[in-house]
């Protein structure tokens, strides 16, 4: 090279730099069913490889970014390979593209799911974004259930890593299933209504015709209720295990209709006792039916044979805990209100009628295949 060419570059050659170099931030978290990913990539980097500034005016607008959303996704997701114990995972786009601000400007935020064949204990990450256009690029990758809390730093010379997943431990999985079970209780309409229907008359003594006139003590009411929810749990544990292990299976539509009908029966029993002193038996039947419903949800977790027993136990324990928490939260309220006319008439009778109507509607809907069958 001639000295003249070098001299024209002199000032640039002698300058040092202290700006943020190119980084991308990838966060992978094990959601059980899928590995969910969020990947933040600088628009400055994407412009270099994809030419986002179509107008050529030096300003990259949101419109220009959005117009290239498909290209951005293809380019970025095409440069990440995830594997579960060596078997490749499928990366599927989730949500639309968004933007996040970092200290060096705007980044595109890509959300995706990685569908991996479960069960697995080791996640393989092969990161190859941008190294060809900028060897100083780094991929800062966090795996939230990985065996280390510090992020993995991928570079041109180190673009592959294996992460052991902590969630692979059966005990940890069981712990997660406890949470999952508890959440399941409070996030499902038919399950919540079952608890309401069970709770409403429990603070009243039930005599011959309709809601009773004398009142049991708090302990007695609590016992009645705990008996009901525990009967549910035991029953549901039985069918859940049977269905998950593949011993029994019932058509989803049949299960959905039966759940609705049993809820209807429970509500009617509140208005006009059908089973004297054996409400726990109704709860038990309902529990049996629900167990079939949960089995399909559990199947998505892809549990290994080793962790299945613990996971089942954990899930059932979670359901029981969720129900008990619910009882503890609402029983005192019902107990305080039980002598009021409002409670006896409007809440117990009105509530039970509403539940009966809704359950009847669900039964019809599910029987006719109009709605979505419960899973």
């Amino acid at each position: 090279m001639s000295s003249v060419a070098a001299l024209s570059l002199l000032l640039a050659v002698l300058s040092t730099q202290a700006q943020k170099p190119s980084d991308s931030y990838l966060h992978l978290s094990d959601e059980g069913r899928v590995i969910s990913g969020r990947w933040d990539v600088s628009l400055l980097d994407l412009d270099e490889v994809l030419g986002l500034d179509v107008g050529g005016d030096g300003a990259i607008t949101w419109g220009e970014v959005r117009a290239r959303e498909a290209d951005i996704r293809r380019y970025v997701l095409g440069r990440l390979a995830l594997g579960a114990d060596g078997r490749p995972c499928e990366l599927v786009t989730r949500d639309t593209l968004r933007i996040a601000e970092y200290t060096d400007g705007a980044y595109a935020v890509l959300a995706f799911d990685a569908r991996c064949a479960r069960p697995f204990t080791r996640l393989d990450v092969d990161y190859s974004l941008l190294f060809d256009s900028d060897p100083q690029h780094r991929g800062i990758v966090r795996v939230s259930s990985g065996d280390t809390d510090s992020p993995l730093v991928f570079s041109n010379s180190r673009h592959f890593a294996q992460v052991r997943l902590r969630a692979a431990s059966p005990w940890r999985m069981a712990g997660r299933m406890v949470v999952e079970g508890a959440l399941h209780v409070v996030s499902r309409a038919d399950h919540l209504l079952f608890l309401v229907a069970l709770l409403l008359p429990s603070v009243l003594r039930r005599e011959g015709g309709g809601p009773g006139e004398t009142t049991p003590g708090f302990a007695s009411a609590l016992w009645t209720l705990v008996k009901g929810v525990s009967a549910f749990t035991v029953a549901h544990a039985l069918t859940l295990a049977a269905a998950t292990l593949g011993w029994v299976s019932l058509p989803a539509r049949f299960v959905g209709v039966a759940i609705a009908l049993s809820l209807l029966a429970l509500a009617v029993d509140n208005l006009h006792p059908l089973w004297r002193g054996t409400r726990w038996a109704v709860a038990f039947v309902l529990g049996l039916l629900h167990g079939f419903g949960f089995a399909s949800a559990l199947a998505e977790w892809g549990l290994s044979a080793g962790s299945l027993t613990l996971a089942l136990l954990g899930f059932n324990l979670g359901v029981e805990l969720g129900q008990l928490a619910w009882v503890v939260a609402f029983l005192p309220l019902a107990f305080v209100l039980r002598d009021s006319r409002l409670y006896r008439r409007a809440v117990v009778v009105g509530g039970s009628v509403a539940i009966a109507l809704l359950a009847g509607f669900w039964a019809a809907e599910r029987a006719l295949g109009l709605g979505v069958p419960v899973s």
Binding site: M1, A6, L7, L9, A18, K20, A59, T61, S133, D134
Partner: protein, 391 residues
């Protein structure tokens, strides 16, 4: 005065505190990022043409070298170090070669120098001047790298090799810079002032001479002359981040924090200059100070995440003057001392050791000052203070 008013109006670019939270922009027309405009910017067009040419026929060394050079220029002009990585990418086929073809070593050394990887830069520069003793840029960069590392004698020899190769002013700038780095700023100042009175210099040489002159005046303790020269140097070359940082330091030293803030206000992308902004806003006790300090702390964290220790000097100063964590500052200053020994590094180590109550930790800096015979007043006084509290 004008500077102070500008500071009053402008807020500069304060990084958002909502960093990382995803959002959907409210309109198609929201501008999210700025890149070189291909339809206006000649260099951007040249860059695009070179990239296309290289894409069509990979392996053309001359095209690749030219693309690398353009990238380095853009990196400096825009203050975006992504372009340094892109310069490296352009030379990918030759980057890892132990004996690359001519031209590659200088680019490789330039990129290492820009990232403060001085040892690696020197390997290439030593080889480059051996292969081509007429390579002006390599001699110059070699002198600079050696000077920054505190190897003043070898740096001066590198400057001397330029005598027959380039303009007298270029040689004088090289020599003056080395003297300034070794604590003889008054001599440096005289050399340059004299050389600048002669006419017929190239724009680059003159710009660089002024910046060096300004820095040596500041080190020699002549604040008003330094201020004048810095303003002229930055008017000629607003992209000189090193000079801008040194100017802000001078203003901070003489208690003109408001002016210092203005000098760096539009350069928040550069971590060195953001540091000066934080120091200035902190000195003024403004409401922006905490937010800016947080942003800078986040930058350091981002650097750490990617395994980059290149900002140890800035982080040490931040720890010392903003976080008031002298132990941490001392640790970082000692880490920086391993790679670079400019007057700023000497001062930082002395100050951190004093603040941490460990004057003996400043021993390397004291030895260094004695060996180079430093005469610059600020460092001499500071060294005396450290010696006076030593057991």
């Amino acid at each position: 005065m004008v500077l102070a008013m500008a500071w009053g109006w402008g807020c500069g670019r304060a990084p958002s505190s909502l960093e990382g939270a995803p959002f959907v922009p409210t309109s198609e027309f929201v501008v999210l990022a700025h890149v070189p405009a291909v339809d206006r910017d000649v260099r951007a067009r040249e860059r695009m043409a070179l990239r296309q040419a290289l894409a069509r026929h990979a392996g053309q060394l001359d095209v690749a070298l030219q693309l690398a050079r353009v990238n380095i220029e853009v990196a400096r002009a825009r203050g975006d170090s992504r372009y340094l990585g892109r310069a490296q990418a352009a030379l990918a086929p030759w980057w890892d070669l132990a004996a690359p073809p001519p031209g590659v070593r200088l680019i490789r050394a330039t990129l290492h120098h820009a990232r403060r990887e001085y040892a690696q830069a020197l390997v290439d520069l030593d080889a480059a001047v051996k292969e081509d003793p007429g390579d002006v840029a390599s001699w110059l960069l070699r002198a600079e790298v050696l000077g920054v590392r505190g190897e003043h004698a070898e740096a001066a020899r590198s400057c001397a090799r330029l005598t027959a190769l380039t303009s007298p002013l270029e040689v004088t700038v090289c020599e003056a810079r080395v003297r300034s780095l070794s604590g003889h700023s008054r001599q440096a100042h005289q050399l340059l002032a004299e050389a600048l009175t002669r006419r017929g210099h190239s724009q680059e040489a003159q710009t660089r001479a002024l910046a060096t002159l300004a820095e040596s005046a500041a080190l020699a303790g002549d604040a008003s002359a330094a201020r004048r020269f810095f303003l002229r140097a930055l008017a000629l070359d607003p992209h000189d981040a090193d000079a801008r940082a040194a100017f802000a330091d001078l203003l901070l030293d003489v208690g003109r924090a408001r002016e210092a803030a203005v000098v760096v206000i539009d350069h928040a992308q550069d971590d060195r200059l953001l540091l000066r902004r934080v120091l200035a806003e902190n000195a003024l006790g403004t409401s922006r100070a905490p937010e800016l300090a947080q942003a800078l702390a986040r930058r350091f964290e981002e650097r750490r995440l990617r395994g980059d220790g290149g900002l140890a000097r800035e982080e040490a100063r931040f720890a010392l003057e903003v976080e008031k964590a002298p132990q941490k500052a001392l640790r970082l200053a000692l880490a920086a001392w391993e790679t670079q020994r400019e007057p700023r590094d000497v001062r930082l180590l002395l100050e951190a050791a004093l603040a941490a109550g460990e004057p003996e930790a400043a021993r390397p800096a004291l030895d260094f000052l004695r060996a180079s015979g430093c005469e610059d007043p600020v460092l001499v006084r500071l060294a005396e203070r450290v010696r006076s509290v030593q057991p």
